[in-house]
């Protein structure tokens, strides 16, 4: 079949949104501005979750108690991302990681940086599962997740 029979028409849909954060997440991001990472503790199962939840997903109870967790934790898993796609927020290459912050009971998703990311073989030697990392703060705070600029390996 000729190309003309497989005619492709370009299209795009763009829609702006205004998203309500809610009280719990609003407080979390306010605390990030003060360089504190806050979790919520369930009075029933005693788990501390970061991101904080307004209710415990397992107990279905309101989570009322705020607990400050450590800015250091253990790398539970990570991925080296060198794959571009539309509207990607971070510049590639970057490392996404699941970090268990000390004093919390869930993995926290953020990025590991502060090291040379250009050569993957070097990154592989530098970043290992089970390693300890610590939060590095952005100087200018915007009240979003990138107020923590990244996590860096603890020397």
């Amino acid at each position: 079949m000729s190309k003309e029979e497989h005619r492709i028409v370009k299209g795009q849909v763009m829609v702006p949104y205004e998203l309500a954060l809610g009280r719990t997440w609003c407080h979390f991001f306010d605390c990030l501005k003060e360089e504190k990472i806050m979790g919520k503790k369930c009075r029933k199962c005693s788990r501390v979750l970061v991101p904080p939840r307004s209710f415990c997903p397992r107990c279905f109870e309101d989570m009322e108690e705020w607990v400050e967790v450590s800015q250091e934790g253990v790398v539970e898993t990570w991925v080296y991302v060198n794959m571009p796609f539309f509207a990607q927020e971070l510049k590639i290459p970057f490392i996404s990681a699941q970090i268990r912050l000390d004093g919390s009971d869930s993995g926290f998703i953020h990025q590991i940086a502060g090291i040379d990311l250009s050569d993957f073989d070097k990154v592989r030697e530098r970043v290992k599962l089970g390693d300890r990392v610590r939060a590095v703060w952005s100087t200018e705070k915007k009240g979003n997740i990138l107020d923590i600029a990244y996590f860096e390996p603890v020397k």
């Binding site: 849909v13 979750l49 991101p51 080296y80 993957f120």
Partner: protein
């Protein structure tokens, strides 16, 4: 379980880059084939279930509107269900529920996707929450790679061993796809080619990853009475399970993966299966990534935790092995996502009715189908058998 339900017909498109047809025509292709396979007409259909990925995939919202005519749904009840990758299993379950409840005799279930028309990874990234995790998301490869790394670390699986087993999975799926006329990717690959392919998200390489496909699948569910009247060899639904877990990635343990484990347990309980490795004849497991297929072997109870690479290396799941997995070439060789989980079910039905052509596993009587969806959040399993 409700009333007995059977699959009496299936239809699949040729999957791949289908820029030769517009999206509704692609859907109709699968519907027409399924009706012919069942030997019935639209008049016999009481209701229609449809599922796809989120609307952002092709940029058209609520596609059950767009496809109403293509699905033959005029003057019939229509429902849409979507659970990302597990959509195909979810809609299959809905078809089952509808007939098992006694409220319908024959239900048409359709899954479809036309991934060449959009940006799959950008779409999947919108499944993440907008405040905490989306910034760091890298579509499906990012999540599945994190999960695979965690799994290998948890069970002390050496990197080389994981790599070797994953490469074998890629080679055998590609070999199997050669027998499947519907498959998107039909090329043989070697162990060396897989192990040296371009890195996507380390340790996952290009040949460890499924393609983005266009394709549709239709499956027709019928009550016992209708099935016995219409169909010579129905595939009977023996058991099904569907489970979900927490939305935020990192809140549940993905190396053990409760939703996959419990969905399978529920399906086995309903089907009366105690030793799935022994009792099942064939399995169609959702395997968009080679490494993840090994996690599924463990969650579905086909081998002990941490031992999937050993089972793969000794050929347990290969063609001719103890339990052949994905004789169709699986998700690894065709992934029109909204259709994929239903394709697994259709393939399982073809196997237990002896209609799988060159990919037939000889004498298959009991087959498992499975799919996973979201940010590793949902898992669905359906078991079909040749006997009621």
């Amino acid at each position: 379980m409700g009333k007995a339900v059977a699959i009496i017909g299936t239809g699949q498109t040729k999957h791949g880059r289908r820029s030769d047809v517009c999206y509704p025509d692609l859907v109709r292709e699968s519907v027409t084939t399924a009706l012919q396979d069942a030997g019935i007409t639209l008049k016999d259909i009481d209701g229609v279930v449809l599922g796809t990925m989120p609307s952002m995939m092709e940029g058209v919202s609520s596609t059950h509107f767009y496809f109403a005519e293509a699905m033959g749904a005029l003057n019939k009840p229509v429902m849409k269900v979507e659970t990302c990758g597990s959509t195909g299993q979810s809609i299959g379950h809905c078809g089952y529920y509808w007939v098992a409840s006694g409220m319908a005799d024959i239900v048409l279930v359709v899954g479809s996707e036309k991934m060449s028309e959009g940006d799959g990874q950008a779409t999947m990234t919108t499944v993440f929450d907008p405040f905490f995790q989306r910034t760091f998301a890298a579509g499906a490869p990012g999540v599945f790679t994190m999960q695979s790394m965690e799994w290998m670390y948890r069970f002390n699986i050496p990197e080389d061993k994981g790599r070797e087993a994953a490469a074998m999975i890629s080679v055998s799926n590609h070999d199997n796809a050669m027998d499947n006329p519907h498959a998107h990717i039909r090329v043989r690959v070697t162990m060396d080619e897989v192990k040296n392919a371009r890195i996507i998200t380390y340790p996952v390489r290009l040949l460890d990853v499924c393609p983005a496909s266009d394709g549709a699948c239709a499956v027709i569910f019928a009550s016992e009475e209708k099935a016995k009247k219409i169909c010579k060899k129905p595939a009977w639904i023996k058991g099904l399970g569907f489970r979900g877990e927490e939305f935020f990635y990192g809140e549940s343990d993905k190396a053990i993966w409760m939703s996959a484990t419990e969905a399978a347990k529920e399906a086995y309980k309903q089907a009366g299966i105690r030793n799935p490795l022994k009792e099942l004849d064939v399995a169609e497991i959702y395997n968009p990534f080679t490494y993840q297929e090994m996690i599924f072997y463990e969650c579905l109870g086909l081998c002990p935790r941490g031992e999937a690479p050993d089972y793969v290396l000794k050929g347990t799941f290969k063609k001719g092995g103890q339990l052949p997995c994905c004789p169709s070439g699986g998700t690894l060789c065709s992934n029109p996502i909204g259709a994929t989980g239903l394709i697994r079910l259709a393939e399982a039905a073809l196997q237990v009715t002896g209609k799988a052509g060159a990919r037939q596993v000889g004498g298959a009587k009991l087959a498992l189908s499975h799919a996973m969806g979201g940010v590793d959040q949902f898992n669905g399993v359906t078991i079909v058998g040749s006997k009621l």
